[in-house]
């Protein structure tokens, strides 16, 4: 059976009732792993909201959304936080940031906000993309201009398919009303032009692989440059 993941959830960290409701719904939707946006100042050994998700049988990966306004700000953020988070995503609001973010291998996910009409995933940006391109459902369907948003999704999926860029589908939900089933997100991506297999992988194996890879990287002994950890033994040696 396929395991689904939603790597972009941003519920208020202090609202346990909202988080509990989201966790129940996600459990009903058979989502196995979620990425929870945790700002650096709240990052600690134990967060109550994480335990809430875990008690519903959902694996939680911590995620940081970097929103840099310049190249320097992006690189500084990556240097500081890469080894503290399981998922690092960059919101590409400025073209100069997008160009660096798509190429930097420390970036797991890039996403392009709906309101940035001049900064889209296209051409050279798509060709040089090493990170996964994320489509956020709540951003896509909220507010006015659904047609424009869907047209843009179609163009970006076309560019990703042409250049074999990796695509990830998420919800960016902050409450239960913004949640969607991972399988439904795959259906949206497929209807808008992504091949069916790639659409299913975008909500299952690709996000899960990102989390697995980074968990190995965050683990204690850091290998040399160019050395990749395949697995660790039970005793952590």
């Amino acid at each position: 059976m396929r395991a689904y993941a939603d790597l972009h959830l941003c519920p208020p960290l202090d609202d346990a009732a909202n988080a509990g409701s989201m966790a129940n719904l996600l459990s009903e939707l058979e989502t196995r792993t979620v990425g929870l946006v945790v700002p650096p100042e709240r990052m600690g050994p134990s967060l109550a909201i994480v335990d809430l998700f875990k008690s519903s049988g959902i694996d939680v990966a911590t995620r940081l959304d970097l929103k840099p306004r310049s190249r320097e700000e992006l690189l500084k953020g990556l240097r500081r936080f890469r080894n503290r988070y399981e998922v690092i995503a960059v919101e590409c609001t400025v073209p100069v940031v997008s160009r660096v973010a798509v190429r930097d291998r420390r970036v797991d996910i890039v996403y392009f906000p709906k309101h940035q009409s001049r900064n889209i995933f296209w051409g050279n940006l798509a060709k040089s993309c090493r990170a996964a391109l994320e489509f956020n459902m709540s951003e896509m369907i909220s507010g006015p201009g659904l047609e424009t948003a869907l047209h843009r999704v179609r163009r970006e999926i076309e560019a990703a398919a042409e250049t074999s860029a990796t695509v990830v589908g998420s919800t960016k939900a902050s409450n239960p009303l913004e949640l969607r089933s991972a399988r439904d997100i795959a259906a949206i991506l497929h209807v808008f032009g992504l091949p069916f297999d790639a659409a299913l992988r975008a909500v299952s194996s690709i996000p899960l692989a990102i989390v697995t890879k980074n968990r190995l990287r965050i683990g204690k002994p850091r290998p040399e440059e160019g050395v990749r950890i395949l697995r660790r033994s039970e005793d952590g040696e």
Binding site: E28, P176, R180, D184, I188
Partner: protein, 109 residues
Amino acid sequence: MANSHSQRYLLIRFFTKDPISAETVKQTVFRSVEDMLGKLGSAQMKARLIAFEQTTGRAVFRCDAGSAEKLRAAVALITHANGKPAAAMVTRSSGTIKSLKLGIQRHRK
């Protein structure tokens, strides 16, 4: 390629703050399908509301097997029902209504 006569049953969970009626569910889904695919696409889909349970907010829809992905996508685009915020998501899909019911029972155990 799906057989042109085969059908697909989808179990859709509606998440709203206030309870909604079967008529609202039907209108909301059909409007979303029409918004996405137009009247022609909607007619080709042959979607139909089979059952709705108000207490749990669960509905069973039937559609042409080849259009199941489109119905899923249209359902995911629902943000309002009767003017109030709502969410809808497909929790299960099956080729027969019998196996859909069996699937629900297995999930509840």
